[in-house]
């Protein structure tokens, strides 16, 4: 017999222990089941939030007991918190921010956007105080942050789609509502690619109050390329500013989302997880605003359901609020006609049929005579009803994802960083959760 064939010794080592008025608890790991460095790293991630949330004052004894010898600790941080602390391009300060369809002119053909980057968040804020709480200015505020000078110098406006198709589709939505005397009990939610959402909102802005809900910062390796939405906002800024002053009081809201917020994250080294969840008003908030109907605008007919992070909200809405969808492609220009005017169903005579299809405020719309048949490409969004389904955002589903009072699912919108135990300074950043660490560089205190 040799020692090699003896069964492994099982023992549990206590890795955390607390005995305080607020909590008594202990956590053990069985050393013999820790087989790889990856495990060890993962185990350390259990300490990350602890290190982050305890803060410097409380790190002392408890953390010292928890963390052992290494001079650095691996911490998983909320991506936006990390960017706010270390800069928008944390870990990749020498990487370029790729902006598609960049232009040097804004919608007015000028370069006022160069100053506009500093005032963008205020310029695009809702004019109505009642809507202000639902405005999420995180992205639009990013260029003005003192530590983001390099973002300001990188950013440019983003050109609209060819022929201003998205603005014209926004104008088509507006014309639908103007034909029904602008009912104020209908709110719209645009859930399109960020730049497209902004462009459609620009087309609606003469009669609707845009409420932007962009809750992240761009990053050179961001899985959400929010620089596109930001660039589009810069492009249309003069138009939004002008219309903000001219818009009728009490204009109905249009909530402007970027559906790339949940972009596919493959945990590759090339990606920085700057995803986020949409924060929309609650059903109670909407009722207080007098909203009785919601029209959720998706890109195309195939996008027949709300995105996962909205499912619970929409299911809650339908207790008192009628939620329907419409595909942006339901708005088309007539075949063989100039692409200057878009209609619901693609024809002037199908346009106002929208109100009859959706069953809202039909009596306010002029009679159209004979029943209209809609082309096949028009979505069946009027038949949509929100149905609860398990998603990674579901709160507390037995057998599914869960957590303790959290809002984001595990690992969502988080980035791994390595920090000095002694100073707390972040020394390196890992774009993905499984790849190697990139030594942080640049002039913001990285080692």
């Amino acid at each position: 017999m040799t020692y090699d064939i003896l069964p492994p010794q099982h023992h549990f080592s206590r890795k955390a222990f607390v005995n305080q008025p607020a909590l008594v608890g202990a956590r053990w790991w069985q050393e013999s089941l820790q087989r790889s460095e990856e495990h060890d790293l993962s185990r350390r991630q259990a300490l990350l939030a602890l290190a982050a949330s305890l803060g410097p004052l409380a790190i002392g004894g408890f953390l010292a007991a928890v963390l052992s010898e290494p001079q650095e600790i691996d911490i998983s941080m909320d991506a936006l918190d990390l960017q706010r602390r270390e800069g928008w391009d944390v870990g990749h300060v020498h990487d370029l921010l790729r902006i598609d369809h960049a232009t040097l002119m804004d919608a007015d053909g000028g370069m006022g956007w160069r100053q506009g980057v500093l005032t963008l968040a205020d310029d695009l804020a809702p004019a109505q105080p009642a809507l202000a709480p639902f405005y999420v200015r995180t992205l639009l505020q990013a260029p003005a942050e003192p530590g983001n000078a390099s973002l300001r110098s990188t950013l440019t406006p983003v050109d609209p789609a060819p022929g201003d198709a998205d603005v014209l589709r926004g104008a088509a939505i507006r014309s639908l509502f103007e034909a029904a005397q602008m009912p104020r009990d209908v709110a719209l939610i645009l859930d399109l690619d960020g730049a497209q959402s902004v462009a459609v909102a620009a087309g609606m802005a003469p009669a609707f109050e845009p409420v932007f809900v962009f809750d992240n910062w761009p990053h050179p390796r961001g899985v959400v390329r929010s620089q596109q939405a930001l660039g589009a906002a810069l492009y249309y800024r003069p138009l939004f500013v002008r219309l903000r002053a001219q818009r009728p009081a009490g204009a109905p809201p249009v909530f402007v989302l970027d559906r790339n917020r949940l972009a596919r994250y493959t945990d590759e080294d090339t990606q920085f997880d700057n995803r986020y969840v949409a924060r929309l008003p609650t059903a109670v908030n909407l009722e207080a605003l007098g909203i009785k109907h919601i029209l959720y605008v998706t890109p195309a007919q195939k996008d027949s359901l709300e995105l996962d992070d909205l499912n619970e909200d929409f299911v809650a809405y339908q207790q008192a609020i009628d939620v329907r969808t419409m595909a942006l492609t339901d708005l088309e220009h007539p075949p063989d006609a100039p692409r200057t005017v878009y209609y619901y169903g693609g024809q002037p005579h199908t346009h106002l049929w929208f109100w009859h299809v959706y069953g809202w405020h039909g009596s306010r719309v002029p009679a159209t005579g004979a029943r209209v048949s809609l082309p096949d490409h028009v979505s069946n969004g009027a038949a949509y009803r929100p149905v609860s389904r398990p998603t990674i955002f579901s709160s507390r589903v037995v057998g599914g994802a869960s957590g303790i009072g959290r809002q984001k699912p595990s690992g969502f919108g988080r980035v791994s960083v390595r920090a000095s135990k002694s100073t707390g300074a972040i020394t390196s950043v890992r774009s993905s959760r499984s790849g190697s660490f990139t030594r942080a560089g640049g002039g913001r205190g990285f080692g």
Partner: protein, 193 residues
């Protein structure tokens, strides 16, 4: 190898003169930093014995079994959030119990959290899977929680990669109120029938 996460959280109605909380506190606070398999089983037998006597006092609870992908993250998330909450509590608390920033002074409840990370498809995993198999209508009953807790000493601890237990508040003079449990992040807890 994959992992399985198993977590139980139960809210116990704690009376001012309450030996159960004191016992739990003593068992956790007196736990050894290093435990063999036998010591581990003995530890959990003591914890579950106290809890089994309190089943009638279980008011709210939540449990979860997650196999495979996400299990390890789930374990980390529960532990980091519970331990992380300590910092918040410390910031909220003044020198004495009267200064605790809670919604109500009616401090009747304590929360016990038990979590495990075990090897997927191991004996411990199969035991958990078998005991968690039940009709949905039985998910949140006192009997179910008693059954789940009594499963713990049955586990083959050689397959247990990590475990943790927490009692909050850790001070027998303190407690959570009904109002606390209906807000402030505890909304996921289900009333136990």
């Amino acid at each position: 190898m994959g992992k399985t996460f198993f977590g139980v959280q139960v809210v116990i109605k704690a009376f001012p003169v309450d030996s159960a909380r004191r016992n739990l506190h003593e068992i956790i606070a007196g736990s050894a930093a290093e435990q063999t398999l036998l010591e581990k089983r003995a530890f959990w037998k003591k914890i579950t014995a106290v809890l089994n006597d309190e089943i009638a006092m279980f008011e709210y609870g939540f449990w979860d079994l997650i196999r495979g992908r996400g299990a390890e993250e789930e374990f980390e998330e529960w532990t980091s959030e519970i331990e992380g909450a300590l910092a918040t509590e410390k910031e909220e608390m003044g020198e004495g119990p009267d200064q605790i920033r809670r919604i109500s002074a009616d401090k009747r409840f304590a929360i016990v959290t038990i979590i495990f990370l075990v090897e997927e498809d191991s004996n411990a995993d199969l035991t958990l899977g078998e005991r968690c198999e039940m009709p949905e209508s039985e998910y949140f009953t006192r009997t179910t929680f008693g059954r789940l807790i009594s499963t713990i000493p049955l586990l083959n601890f050689a397959n247990v990669e990590a475990d943790a237990v927490y009692l909050a508040p850790g001070n027998a003079d303190d407690g959570l109120s009904d109002e606390d449990l209906h807000g402030g992040g505890y909304e996921y807890l289900k009333p136990l029938l």
